[in-house]
Subunit: 201 residues, 2 copies
């Protein structure tokens, strides 16, 4: 039940979250032990408990940090793109790219890779705000008349679930052939029900 420590310790806390994420991304969940983490950072295992309470607390901090970075990447992927539909496509590509770059961290965020880790509802709420850029892009498409047939929230959620489904299947080894192309096709199909065809002439 650890509350966040004094400001002076924030540096060590973020250092630990950072290094733990690096271990998780490069060597997987089995390699992420507290002794290993402590040794890498050059401390004992105790500070992890004073800062995060237990290993679950550390994982929760990694969960939040992962979503924070995903959210930042999503926002920057849509920023400054004039064509709303292009922004939507960029968001989809960014989502997959980040997931493939950090598969184990993605598992931590969207699955439950480490035994019995369960984020609290606050963390899930923060996580859900991550796809806000997707909603905004969908709204821009609606405003520009490029999409129709639903509100932005609903459209964005559907696009997200399709992207997530494809990435999840790809990481589990269930996508054969050109996964990038399959993802592209899935994006097109997921948007198809809402697409407004260009008027002839």
């Amino acid at each position: 039940m650890p509350t966040v420590k004094a400001p002076t310790s924030d540096q060590l806390a973020s250092r630990l979250v950072d290094e733990a994420g690096r271990i998780l991304s490069t060597e997987g969940a089995a390699a992420l032990t507290l002794r290993r983490l402590a040794q890498t950072v050059g401390i004992s295992t105790m500070p992890v408990y004073t800062l995060f309470g237990d290993k679950q607390g550390l994982l929760a901090a990694m969960y939040r940090e992962g979503y924070r970075r995903l959210g930042a990447a999503m926002r920057s992927a849509a920023k400054g793109v004039d064509d709303p539909l292009q922004a939507l496509v960029n968001l989809g590509h960014t989502y997959r790219a980040i997931a493939l770059a950090n598969p184990h961290l993605y598992d931590l965020m969207f699955g439950r890779p480490v035994a019995s880790f369960q984020p609290d509802s606050d963390a899930v709420e923060v996580a859900d705000s991550t796809y806000r850029p997707l909603v905004e892009a969908a709204q821009r498409c609606l405003d520009a008349g490029q999409l129709t047939g639903g509100d932005a929230e609903r459209i964005a959620f559907h696009l997200w679930s399709v992207s997530h489904g494809m990435v999840s299947l790809e990481l589990a080894g269930h996508v054969h052939g050109d996964a990038a192309q399959a993802y592209e096709e899935a994006m097109v199909l997921s948007a198809a029900p809402f697409l407004v065809l260009p008027t002839p002439g």
Copy 2:
């Protein structure tokens, strides 16, 4: 590297897989320890090693059994349904129902919940054959003129990825409101690009 034992041991092997699945489904990955499993069955931990080699071998057997049951449920969900489109809907509902009934087993099959478990390519191939009924139902829809615009394989894969994405998000707590209705809507949207509208008159 354990080869399957003599036929006389098959009973114990399936008993172990069965009980392990029960523990995993009811108490999660953290509760599934070899000591606990052995105690529940009333043996020592050794038979697990002679039968499955190690814990990964047991998990691999559970993985295969999980897909075997999922495949059986999928086949029976489509069997004897006259309307091909209805069969497709039934398959979607069955998929979600099974996943929600055994969330941890579903994680084992479609994610990597237990540290560093990785099914071999044979197992993944068996797993992929699970959605064969989906391909057949899609083919029937194409033959009946209810769907168009793609081959059965591609359509089935897209429907699967959408179902999987929705179920995965729901299990991770990212679906708010009526999850069943959201799933229904996602199924409709995923099929929409291929749907043939009834001819007027």
